[in-house]
Every structure is written in structure tokens, then in C-alpha cells.
């Protein structure tokens, strides 16, 4: 998969599972930040991240170890998609 393809999948997850407006999702880019607390981010909290993780496991066939601290990886679509690429390579 390319990073762009992964981004599209992540956007689909954001809409289907995290209930974001599709029009808003269409405008999201690799630079879009995710976690609550970062100005201009999507404002995702812990519950959103669990949902996102479950959806990512299903969509990309990866296993996310919840013991790991993945704060950096979950910071933006760019960091997240790169991380997924590394796990699916």
C-alpha cells in the first residue's frame, strides 16, 4: 500500500467508525493532527483512540499492543500512516 492509500483508508475509518462528517474528512491531509490538546487537531480522546486502534487492526491486519506508548505515532495522519506502513511492510 502507498501512504496515500493508507490515508484514504484512515479517512474512511474516521467517517464510518468515529462518526466524522464526510465533507470534513475530504479536507483532511497527512498534516492533520489527531489528539485532543493540539490546536487545530481532530480532538480525539482516549475512547476515540481505542476505536481507531480496533478499526486499524481490522482494516490493515496489524496488531496493536496497548502496553506500548504510541503517542508519537498517533500524532498526525502522516506519523500514523508511516507507522502502519512500517508494520505492514
Amino acid at each position: 500500500m502507498t501512504q496515500k492509500e493508507i490515508l484514504d483508508e484512515l479517512k474512511a475509518i474516521i467517517v464510518e467508525r468515529l462518526k466524522f462528517d464526510p465533507r470534513r474528512a475530504a479536507e483532511m491531509t497527512l498534516d492533520t493532527t489527531l489528539p485532543k490538546g493540539i490546536e487545530g487537531s481532530l480532538g480525539l480522546d482516549s475512547l476515540d483512540f481505542i476505536e481507531l486502534s480496533v478499526a486499524m487492526e481490522e482494516r490493515f491486519g496489524i496488531v496493536i499492543d496497548e502496553g506500548q506508548d504510541l503517542a508519537d505515532e498517533f500524532r498526525s495522519f502522516d506519523s500514523l500512516s508511516r507507522w502502519i506502513l512500517s508494520k505492514t511492510a
Binding site: R17, L18, K19, G43, L47, I50, E51, V54, E58
Partner: protein
């Protein structure tokens, strides 16, 4: 424990098929003559025994929600959040540890339960949405509304058929009287969900039950033949009188007493001739120190369910209370009705030229025997 705390109503917030707003809007809806009951639009009812309902205008509801903040809220949570916020704005009651919340509901969030299990049935364990799971527990509406209005006192969800709203108001009055909160936002909510509507219809609970007569909501009338469902959320703000006065709140009326109890009949039944030896209506009168003759108007929970209507009429007559009026045809049967009837009582007390000592009773009765009585009077 102080027996002297007095409980008053300082605000109303309502979302229903009749409209959305606070005290003034609810008064307007009550003053109008139209019923919002019409063929259901939100889902297909072809082939089902019933097809009528009183639906909330979704566009109007969405207009009152910030899309970002409401993103994860299920529909019934949206109804609850908007109505409770409207009530708090109407009343001006402050947020904090002295503010409680009581939410009554009959069906809760079945929509979310269905969505949750469907994820599993279609795609196995990975199809489950962790985000939806909290909504499968009936207290989720109270949890999100408490966050919305900053209620950090007790927040309680009560589940009860037919009179969930009445029970919530009675429970809230007790919380204020018992000193657990200075103010409590109290009322009920239900939404129309296709699966619930269909099953109730097939079980013969909805008009036209047994296929007899025309479909419609005709509480207490000789040709009543079942319930017509509605949806929505209505909340009142109940407050300790001293506290309300101290902050200069508008006091609409006083809840002079609130009582509830049970007639021990078999679940789901409404035996017309069963008498109540422990009538909460009489207890409410005794508690307020008045006779049945002091009650000028009675709002009943009768909603067109023939057995329940008849049983309620019998019980009220036995207690020598006035013949009840129903609001079911104005809003459809749903958990918010009890609070709407209290709102109607406030409206009546403040509009009609009644003697200052005349009281209004808001009476509730459900299949299975849950019985509630709220005695409402002008604020002195």
C-alpha cells in the same frame, strides 16, 4: 433531616414533536390545538399493524447541536443533551456539585445496542465498536447530559414503562427535599426506533390493537384502542425554594408534595378493578395537608391503552380526584410526557384565574402497578 425544604420549578426545556424550546415555547405548544401525530417518516412501516407516530424534527434538533461536540452522541443522547441544556438555560441554575440530574426512560438507547451487536453478527469480534458500547447501558444519556450541564451532584437514571418522566420528577423532588442537591434537572426521554416500534406494534400495544377501529390516540375515550408512540426529551429544573430566591430565579410553581408507590399486580397487567390500598395520590394530599377537593385539575398518564386508561380512571375516582386530562395526543407516548404534564400544570396555574389555593395533580400509572402523584401549586 429537614422537613421544611420546599421544592419549586424554575425552568423547562423540551424537545418533542410539538416543538423545541423552554417555558415560553412549551406554553405556546400547549395553547395550540394541533396534534403532531402523523404517519411515521423515519422508517418504513408497510405491512406493520401500526403506522402513526409523533416524531421530532431532526433538522431542528441538529441545528441546536455543535457537530464537533455532538459527533459521538447517539440520537437519544442528542435529545437528552439539548433538552437538559435548554432547561438549564431557561432556569439560569448554576453548574456544580449542588446540581443533580434524574433521567427517566422506558426504552433507553436500543438503537445503539442494535448497532453494537450488528457489528459483531456481521463481522465478528473486530466489527465491534468500543465507542458505541457505553451507549448500551441506559445511564449513558445521564452521563453525557451531566457533562453538558455540569451536574456534579447525584445523577440517576430510572427505568419505568409509561411514567418514567413522572417517576424522575418525584425522585428529583425527593433529592432536593432530602438535601442531596440544591437543584435537580429532572425529566424523561425516549426515541422512536424502528425495531422497538415494530415489536410493540406486533405485540398489540399500539393502536389499533387487535386491528379494531381506526388508528389514533384517544385516551380515556370509549373507542380508545391502543397507544401511539412519540419521542423527545423534556426536563424541568427543580430547586430548593430558598436557594432559588437567593439567586433571583423565576419561580413558576411549587411541587407541594411528591409520592410514589406500587399496586402489586402481575407484570404488564392493568386490572381495571384492582384497588390501591396505599394510594400515593392520597399520601401526596396528606403530605400537603389538603383534601381531594383542593385539586382543581388532574393530568393523567392515560394514553389510549384501554386497560390502563380504565384502571387509572377507577383509581382516581376512588380517591375522589377530578377526571384526568391526557397530553398523549399532543406529543405521543414517550418518557418525556410526565415532565410535559408538569409543564402543563405550571402553565395552567399561571394562566387560568384559579383561586390561589387550587392545586393541580399530575398522576401517573403504569402496567405492572407503578403509581406516581405530584401535587403542584402556585408558588406562594
Amino acid at each position: 433531616m429537614s422537613a421544611s425544604r420546599r421544592v419549586v420549578v424554575t425552568g423547562v426545556g423540551s424537545v418533542s414533536a410539538g416543538g423545541i424550546g423552554g417555558t415560553a415555547v412549551v406554553a405556546q405548544i400547549l395553547a395550540g390545538a394541533t396534534s403532531p401525530i402523523r404517519p411515521v417518516r423515519a422508517f418504513e412501516t408497510a405491512g406493520w399493524p401500526s403506522r402513526l407516530g409523533a416524531e421530532v424534527d431532526d433538522a431542528a434538533l441538529e441545528g441546536l447541536l455543535d457537530p464537533g461536540a455532538a459527533r459521538r452522541l447517539s440520537r437519544i443522547c442528542r435529545l437528552t443533551v439539548v433538552a437538559s441544556r435548554l432547561a438549564v438555560e431557561d432556569s439560569g441554575v448554576p453548574r456544580g456539585p449542588a446540581l443533580g440530574l434524574v433521567v427517566g426512560t422506558e426504552h433507553g438507547d436500543f438503537r445503539s445496542s442494535e448497532e453494537f451487536v450488528t457489528g459483531y453478527l456481521k463481522r465478528g469480534p473486530s466489527g465491534l465498536s468500543p465507542m458505541i458500547f457505553p451507549n448500551t447501558v441506559m445511564n449513558s444519556m445521564a452521563a453525557v447530559a451531566a457533562i453538558e450541564i455540569g451536574a456534579r451532584g447525584p445523577s440517576i437514571t430510572v427505568n419505568q414503562a409509561t411514567v418514567a418522566g413522572d417517576l424522575a420528577v418525584a425522585r428529583a423532588a425527593a433529592l432536593v427535599r432530602d438535601g442531596r442537591a440544591l437543584a435537580v434537572v429532572a425529566g424523561g426521554v425516549d426515541e422512536m426506533f424502528a425495531h422497538v416500534y415494530r415489536r410493540l406494534s406486533e405485540m398489540g400495544m399500539l393502536s389499533p390493537a387487535a386491528g379494531r377501529g381506526t388508528e389514533g390516540c384517544r385516551p380515556y375515550e370509549p373507542d380508545h384502542n391502543g397507544v401511539v408512540l412519540g419521542e423527545g426529551a423534556t426536563f424541568l429544573v427543580l430547586e430548593d425554594l430558598e436557594s432559588a430566591r437567593a439567586r433571583g430565579a423565576v419561580v413558576h410553581a411549587e411541587i407541594r408534595s411528591a409520592a410514589w408507590g406500587n399496586v402489586p399486580v402481575a407484570p404488564h397487567t392493568a386490572p381495571r378493578r384492582r384497588r390501591d390500598l396505599h394510594s400515593p395520590a392520597l399520601r401526596a394530599l396528606v403530605s400537603a395537608g389538603v383534601a381531594p377537593s383542593a385539586v382543581g385539575t388532574c393530568y393523567g398518564s392515560g394514553n389510549g391503552d384501554p386497560a390502563l386508561d380504565d384502571w387509572e380512571l377507577g383509581l382516581l375516582a376512588a380517591d375522589r380526584l377530578p377526571e384526568p386530562r391526557s397530553l398523549a395526543s399532543r406529543f405521543g407516548q414517550h418518557g418525556g410526557l410526565g415532565a410535559l404534564r408538569v409543564a402543563a400544570a405550571l402553565d395552567r396555574l399561571n394562566k387560568v384565574a384559579l383561586s390561589p389555593t387550587t392545586l393541580v395533580m399530575v398522576h401517573g400509572l403504569a402496567r405492572g402497578g407503578c403509581r406516581t402523584a405530584l401535587l403542584i401549586g402556585r408558588a406562594a
